[in-house]
Amino acid sequence: MATDFVAQGQDLELLGIRKEFPGFVAVDDLDLKIPAGEFFALLGPSGCGKTTTLRMIAGLESPSAGKILLGGKDVTNTKPHERPVNTVFQNYALFPHMSVIENVAFGLRQRKVSEPLVQAKQALAMVELEHLGERKPQQLSGGQQQRVALARAMVNRPSLLLLDEPLGALDLKLRRQMQIELKAIQMEVGLTFLHVTHDQEEAMDMADTVAVMNQGHIEQMGAPEALYDRPKTAFVAKFLGQSNIFVGDVIDSGEVVSISYNQTKLSALQKRCEKTSGKVAFGVRPEKVEFHEEMPSESSGRNILGPGQITDIRFTGVSNQYQIEIPGVGEITVFAQNIGRSPVVELGATVWVSWKVEHSFGLSDLPTGTEIEE
């Protein structure tokens, strides 16, 4: 029923979008293509330009330069009310002087759709709130208001649905529950969703494609698994999960690229490297790192560092987080699952760490704070 209720989504394309505010550039020559029907997440820290990008797509801000295409049609200069785009606002922005059902019917009435109340009721049914239509928004809980906001936007069958941190005001448990529901609704209606968030877990959990935004541009875009497995920049490596990062000069490049990191040779596969000459940063995820109580034998396709001391152990339930201080190398984070396979070590124990060469990734830039000696 729900599928014939909402039209299909459309492609969204941003071409060289730029937004300048007095004194700073919020969005810097952004190119982006979101295919119809996709759940797309724009992820970034606050102030990275993601909300400004969303507001430009909605028509609430006009870009300083660039074009916005919706289903191939240029909508850059159209007003918000002329765009087939709807938004779920950050704090929902439900009209306090109207009942829930009138909120949902607002867009339908504006477009002079016949029988707006019937459609509004159907939309409320989809978010399981049909029994609360006569209430005022202030009488609903946060989660219920969130659903009303969703129904109010979706009932218009927009080509593109924009979600501006829609779950930000909910508590953790409700947020996780709404993530699942939101994803289910999107799959059911097949609309194009553009979801803006600063919560990496939320983005990875729901989206087909995630674009990580930083300082007005997109750092990297791709499927969540790909982004996690092969971050291309230091920002992505650190913003999405945690990473151990090592910077050194390339000493060997072929199918396997190696750097010299404090006299130790670290290697990565060339196809997992963005850069193969000069000063390069390599990274590895903490859960890919193992530790050993005795020095492991060289070679065997592993990078080895050590010996070092365990300086901190944190129990987080399914896994333990270890901090290991290796003299002359620095601090390394290791996650080990509590399934009895890793050796039991205590604070202060001497250990070596190692990981498979194919688990290393080479970044295109250096982490901020690295001095560049030329």
Partner: protein, 265 residues
């Protein structure tokens, strides 16, 4: 222990006594509206409803009262519209000369009425405009405007801009957003401002005296009559206005408290 309980009852007692003091002239005016007076309404001569039942036996009182209503309604209409526009601009827009605008709006609030009254009268003399109903209304719009701006501005400041954006997002053009979202949400503030403007205009004496010429208003009538004694019909009108105003205030408060209770459920 005794000192503590003294402190506990001292303040409420003081507040109660002060309120009693504030109410004395109101009570006096109300009581003497029922005085069966013959010439002047100074000595109590017995209780009667006649003054209430036949207010217009003193034709001057009634004319003055209806003039006051006419002036207050006209001035309120104009100053509410102009003031609301300014209030929206002040909160929602950035523009040059902002400090100058704030100052221009503040000055009428900080100017003694006699200065505003005499200044406007001097200007009407310079222009050669005869004083009358139009000049009083002009004067009342002038001195109520800033009060409207202040009152509406407080309401605009609490209005979430995202609500208007949601309206635009949901296919309403700017005019429709204003009519369906902005205006209904500002309405309580605009109504409060209109009531305040009406009350200020209705009660104004000094500015009116300088700019009304031969037109009589209710406060002007009371001022003139004070020399020989104010007729009880004036007390009737004063008391009547008081009762209506208090009834409005109480209704508004009760409604607000019922709404709070309903929301709490």
């Amino acid at each position: 222990m005794t000192r503590f309980s003294l402190g506990k009852y001292l303040l409420p007692t003081y507040v109660a006594l002060t309120f009693l003091f504030l109410m004395i002239p109101i009570g006096y005016t109300f009581v003497f509206s029922f005085n069966d007076s013959i010439k002047s309404n100074i000595i109590w001569r017995g209780f009667t409803f006649d003054n209430w039942l036949d207010v217009c036996s003193q034709a001057e009182v009634c004319t003055a009262f209806s003039n006051s209503i006419l002036i207050a309604v006209s001035a309120t209409a104009v100053s509410t519209v102009l003031g609301t526009m300014i209030a929206i601009a002040l909160v929602r827009y950035r523009f040059k000369f902002r400090s100058a605008t704030n100052l221009l709006l503040f000055l009428p609030l900080a100017t003694p009425e006699v200065v505003m009254g005499a200044g406007l009268a001097a200007q009407f003399l310079d222009f050669g405009w005869p004083k009358g109903l139009p000049t009083v209304i002009i004067a009342h719009v002038m001195f109520t405007l800033s009060f409207v701006v202040v009152t509406v501005k407080a309401r605009v400041a609490t209005l979430d801009p995202a609500l208007e954006e949601a309206g635009r997002d949901l296919y309403a053009n700017p005019a429709q957003v204003f009519m369906k979202v902005t205006l209904p949400l500002l309405l309580p503030g605009i109504l409060a401002a209109a009531m305040l403007a009406f009350a200020l205009s209705f009660d104004d004496f000094i500015i009116t005296q300088f700019n009304s010429g031969a037109v009589d208003t209710f406060p002007k009538f009371v001022y003139t009559a004070a020399a020989r004694g104010i007729p009880p019909e004036a007390n009737v009108i004063g008391s009547f206005v008081f009762i209506v105003a208090i009834a409005i205030v109480i209704t508004v408060q009760v409604r607000a408290s019922l709404k709070r209770k309903k929301l709490a459920k």
